[in-house]
Amino acid sequence: MDNKSDDYSKVEEDLLRPITQTGRDFYVTVAILLAIISVGVFAWIIQLREGLGVTGLNRPIFWGFYITNFVFFIGISHAGTLISAILRLANAEWRRAITRSAEVITVLVLFFGVLNIINDLGRPDRLLYTIFHGEFRSPLLWDVVSISIYFICSSIYLFLPLIPDIALMRDKFKGTRKGKIYRILALGWKGTEKQWKILGRAISLMAVLVIPIAVSVHTVVSYVFAMTIQPMWHSTIFGPYFVTGAIFSGIAALLIAMVIIRKSCHLQAYLKPVHFNNLGLLLLVMSLLWFYFTFTENLTSFYGAEPSHLAVFYAKLTGQYAPYFWVMVFLCFILPVAVLSNRKTRTISGIFLVSCGVIVGMWLERYTIVLPTLINPRLPIERGTYTPTWVELAITAACFAAFILLYILFVKAFPIVSIWEIKEGKEVGVEETAERVKSYLPDTVFEKKSGGLGANEINSPSKRENDHE
């Protein structure tokens, strides 16, 4: 037992280190981010005062950077909750170290998705009209509803598994002001049997609930485009296409976050190559799936050869937006497949590189969905061009910076790797997995070699199992 608690104190120490210790790098990073944010805030103030005239938007390019950001950020948000929920439900043991960092992304990034939409409004002061005077036939209102629900659910889903860890920190920081906050947040968690049971159930319930909501969110985001009658927006596959893209970019974002956390918080022992390998493979699968959708979508438009669709198609593939498009194809398909399908290059740094590429590529994908259609409206007489102004760039940069800042602050305030889940993994997971693996195999294997593979584990029940019985 002593040995074990030593183990745990090591785990606790490792995982709480980012909270207890603050290095110079932290301040430098925060300062830089704050600088970027303040430029963005300045730009935003200007935009609020002057109206959207300070952006590069025009007629007929009514949507630009902000909407791209919106779709992109909502996409990223799928990283977290969806992946974590799927992995939880699938009982994938390797999930334990990564779920939280994933869930945080969801909650934080959703906020910036919404912020970009508000930012895009000509009259942000009338935002609440969507509630007071909402017309439910508009897909934009579906968005409002589904994103709000998603935000609430994923916040709960983030918070629930956080409770035991908060309680741990409450105990750790007793007496300080920090401790007081943790005490409030811990909601009186004492770690009783009943509480664990409720928590377990709640987490499972939320995991089940969150998956359809997450899928619906990005489907509905895609509907914003798909429900119009504009060429190459009005597409039936936009729902699954967007969801795929969302998960794809989400995984990439998660991987980047993991790599950075691993490095900066010295969690090499927790975030192991196997995690990266597994997620990397998932990324590869999503890349292929994404390419399939992209291919289908564009081929259909090309083959149908409706003039208005073709105009958009060519703007994308050979015209003004071709550079973006082909960079996107390279970053989202060629590079990932090349790197990830090879075991030798599927290293942490390789995966980091690919993930960064995918993030950029997926942003470009949103951009090449939003803009080519807008510059080529159906009436062939009207044509437009779009160049973002510094205001849009600054606000976009500030969104990214603010997201990173909030993420860092989260890491500063809460353990980014779930402590209790790691503990649980050791105590329950190992056995359960053995049991499960055993259940996959034909019974004959065990009959021949009695007391073989899993016998030891079964005979050494964990503390919690003991409590159970």
């Binding site: 603050t22 301040y27 925060v30 704050l34 805030v41 935003w44 103030i45 609020l48 005062r49 009259r123 942000p124 002061d125 602050l409 500063k412």
Partner: protein
């Protein structure tokens, strides 16, 4: 430490969020809770006459609490029948232009600079009056000159009367139709325009005529076009180097080498004569010198040569000629566009000879002559000895010696003789909206004019090019703020007199030119003043209008039904009075907006042919070389020819600069709002490596200007087209817009006969400009 930062962020964030949100939410200027906007809301419709162009359409202005809010057409006005053109629609921007001069201004300091001092009307009028009296006393009254625009109204009479009494022959009006008037003078003895009866005509053979966009009676022509297109009984052949609006509306566009329109007309004439497709009865009865004309044609005109020189295929020439004969009545029309070339008079005479060949003069669907409206003539002036002596002085511009009887006064000669002080120097110059051509010319000569004329007074209601010359500005009102009459352009067949009522009181400290002149007249001594016995201009105007009642002709504007009845009666010699007294007549006149006489009397020979022979005179004294003279020297450095064209409704004045609503639509065919563009043939552009919408320099030996290149298949490969009178700024001021005025590119060449500037022979090159 970390917490402190966070707190700071919170506070800062909170503040930075709340402030902009507040500024955004409380959109103060758009929540009208300000206390001073208590409006009575009284709405009126005031009938008036639009004078944004020489057309004089009837308008109804919606006035709410002394604010003019919207212009609509006066449905009773026979010219526009309730319709208004874009320029007229934008008219209120003229009225409420921020460029309006607020009151009399005196230039202080250097004359080349524009530093102004506000003075009172008394002081301003005193200055002018003293100046005028001094000059008159020293026997130099003839050294006072007036330059204004050509307008058909009583103001014109008043101004010329003023200068006649004062004793100055130098009353100058720029007239862009002068070449046409000269041509009619040569052929029919009328120094005036002829009306074209488009309504009854079945073929319009237009030699570059902008009858749908730049004639003073555009609104009439537009309406007729609409009606006839709906009926399907109209054919238009547009012969022009550039695919103009008219060309785009025509059934056939025939590009032609610039300046050779007259030759094509002669080519057509030669087909008509050779094939005997002309109206022999008419030619015998109503024309003279036909035999000379025929032998000239037969000897000198070879169709192959015509085809080669004009660039029009032989088959087209023959086809046009046949069509011109078969689709009777057909008219061959041309306008001031033809006069902007060195051989303008020939071109116009040649075109007009086609009408004589077809017998389309004084016949339905042909060329008619408008009867003057019977307004009361002003009483004869009594001149004192000073005036009599001064009026015998030579006018300040002579007509150029010519073999033809011409009557033209031209801008160039006038300004040149002023600058050169020959035969005498001008001591005082009055400027009152003298027109675009004039303005652009005086701008070129600004320094010389300032050097040679010691005192210049501008009446311009806006800060513009003329006011930059002036020593004193006596701001006129716009036409919305004063009494005015307007007589329809002689291009319409019926006489119309529109009455322009002040729609609102004069804004700021501006005063109508007319009342300024009447006031001045009163300061010039008893003898002088007795020639101007009217207490104000309105009185003078109504005095003239009473003639309409006494004439026992026509009627006040009425519904088209009543109008048709009246016409039928009148053409049979009947007329019934509608009003029993002058006062009742005047009251009704002011209410309905004007008077018209819808009847037209044909076959009044002495009225249509006022020359000695009372016949149409064919002119054949041209050299063929003269005809093709437009071929300016080939020049390797400047391989392209510049074609300047008037934008719709812009001709002859610069007031449109103050109408941003209207200006921004002039480039609609090229997707351009404000920039100046240059039209380039795709082939030429390809050879020069110029792409659509590139910014290019257009350079002539005179200078270069920046423009947006638009690839345009409606212009020949050797020509580039540029618009005139396009401003680049919505509220043009301080000469900003003139930097890119294509007139700067023109070489100074003129039609030797009429002195009209030639805007066809300048050669240019274009090349890409770096940057924007």
């Amino acid at each position: 430490m970390a917490i402190k930062r966070r707190d700071f962020l919170k506070i800062g964030g909170g503040l930075s969020l709340s402030l902009p949100l507040y500024t955004c939410i409380s959109d103060k200027s758009y929540n009208s809770t300000s206390k001073s906007n208590w409006l009575a809301g009284v709405e009126q419709w005031v009938p008036s006459v639009c004078q944004a162009c020489p057309g004089g359409c009837g308008i109804m202005v919606r006035v709410i609490d002394d604010r003019a809010v919207k212009i609509e057409g006066n449905p009773l006005h026979p010219l526009n029948k309730g319709k208004v053109c874009p320029k007229g629609q934008a008219g209120l921007q003229l009225l409420y232009s921020p460029e309006r001069v607020r009151g009399p201004l005196k230039k202080v300091g250097d004359r080349n600079e524009e530093r102004w001092e506000t003075i009172s009307w008394d002081e301003a009028l005193n200055t002018v009056s003293t100046k005028l009296q001094q000059l008159r006393e020293s026997g130099k009254s003839h050294t006072v000159a007036f330059a204004g625009k050509n307008q058909q109204n009583t103001t014109d009479e008043l101004v010329s009367r003023f200068f006649e009494v004062y004793g100055s022959p130098n009353f100058f009006k720029f007239d862009e139709w002068a070449a046409l008037k000269n041509a009619y003078f040569v052929s029919q003895g009328i120094y005036d325009l002829m009306a074209v009866d488009l309504k009854n005509s079945r073929l319009i053979l237009s030699f570059g005529a902008n009858f749908l966009s730049n004639w003073p009676n555009v609104m009439e022509n537009q309406r007729i076009y609409g009606e006839k297109r709906a009926e399907g009984d109209l054919k238009i052949i547009q012969i022009e180097p550039r695919f103009s609006i008219e060309a785009s509306r025509a059934d056939k566009w025939i590009p032609i080498n610039r300046g050779s329109e007259g030759l094509l007309a002669l080519g057509i004439a030669s087909v008509l004569i050779k094939e005997r497709l002309f109206n022999q009865a008419f030619v015998e009865r109503f024309t003279s010198q036909f035999n000379e004309f025929r032998s000239f044609i037969l000897q000198n005109i070879s169709l192959d040569q015509v085809s080669e020189m004009t660039g029009v295929p032989l088959s087209s020439i023959i086809e046009i000629a046949k069509e011109f004969h078969t689709r009777h009545p057909a008219v061959a029309v041309s306008d001031f566009n033809l006069s902007y070339s060195a051989n303008s008079l020939f071109n116009i005479l040649a075109v007009h000879s086609l009408n004589a060949l077809a017998g389309n003069i004084d016949s339905p669907g042909g060329f008619l002559r408008q009867r003057q409206a019977p307004v009361t003539e002003l009483p004869p002036v009594t001149l004192d000895s000073v005036a009599k002596k001064a009026l015998s002085e030579e006018e300040h511009w002579g007509t150029t010696e010519s073999d033809l009887p011409l009557r033209s006064k031209n801008t160039k000669d006038m300004i040149d003789s002023m600058v050169n002080k020959s035969p005498y120097g001008i001591n005082c110059l009055f400027l009152s909206s003298p027109g675009y051509q004039f303005v652009s010319y005086i701008q070129k000569k600004k320094a010389e004019i300032l050097g040679s004329i010691p005192f210049i007074v501008s009446f311009s209601p806006f800060m513009d090019e003329t006011s930059s010359l002036a020593d004193l500005i006596l701001p006129d009102t716009t036409f919305y703020e004063k009494w005015q009459d307007h007589h329809s352009s002689p291009l319409s067949k019926i006489p119309i007199v529109g009455i322009s009522k002040p729609v609102i009181q004069p804004l700021y400290q501006s005063r109508p030119l007319e009342s300024t002149l009447l006031t001045l007249a009163r300061t010039m001594g008893e003898d002088f003043a007795q020639n101007f016995p009217w207490s104000d201009y309105k009185e003078l105007l109504l005095y003239r209008m009473k003639g309409l009642f006494r004439a026992k002709k026509g009627s006040i504007f009425s519904s088209s039904y009543e109008e048709a009845q009246l016409r039928i009666l009148e053409e049979r010699g009947w007329w019934t009075p509608q009003h029993n007294s002058e006062d009742a007549f005047i009251k009704d006149l002011l209410e309905k907006g004007g008077w018209q006489d819808p009847s037209y009397h044909f076959n009044e020979r002495s009225f249509v042919y006022q020359n000695n022979s009372q016949r149409f005179v064919f002119v054949s004294s041209f050299e063929i070389e003269d005809v093709g003279s437009n071929e300016s020297q080939e020049n390797e450095d400047y391989p392209l020819r510049l074609f300047l064209f008037d934008l719709p409704f812009t001709s002859s004045d610069s007031s449109s600069k103050n109408m941003p609503w209207y200006q921004e639509n002039l480039g609609f065919r090229f997707g351009i709002l404000w920039k100046i563009w240059v039209e380039v043939n795709p082939e030429t552009a390809g050879a020069l490596g110029i792409r659509d919408k590139d910014i290019v320099w257009v350079e002539s030996p005179q200078g270069r200007i920046k423009a947006v290149a638009r690839i345009f298949p409606g212009i020949g490969p050797e020509i580039v087209g540029m618009p005139l009178n396009k401003t680049e700024h919505p509220l043009a001021s301080k000469g900003e817009t003139d930097i890119n005025d294509p007139l700067h590119l023109l070489e100074e060449t003129y039609d030797e006969r009429t002195g009209i500037p030639d805007r066809m022979s300048t050669r240019v090159k274009i090349y890409k400009a770096r940057g924007r």
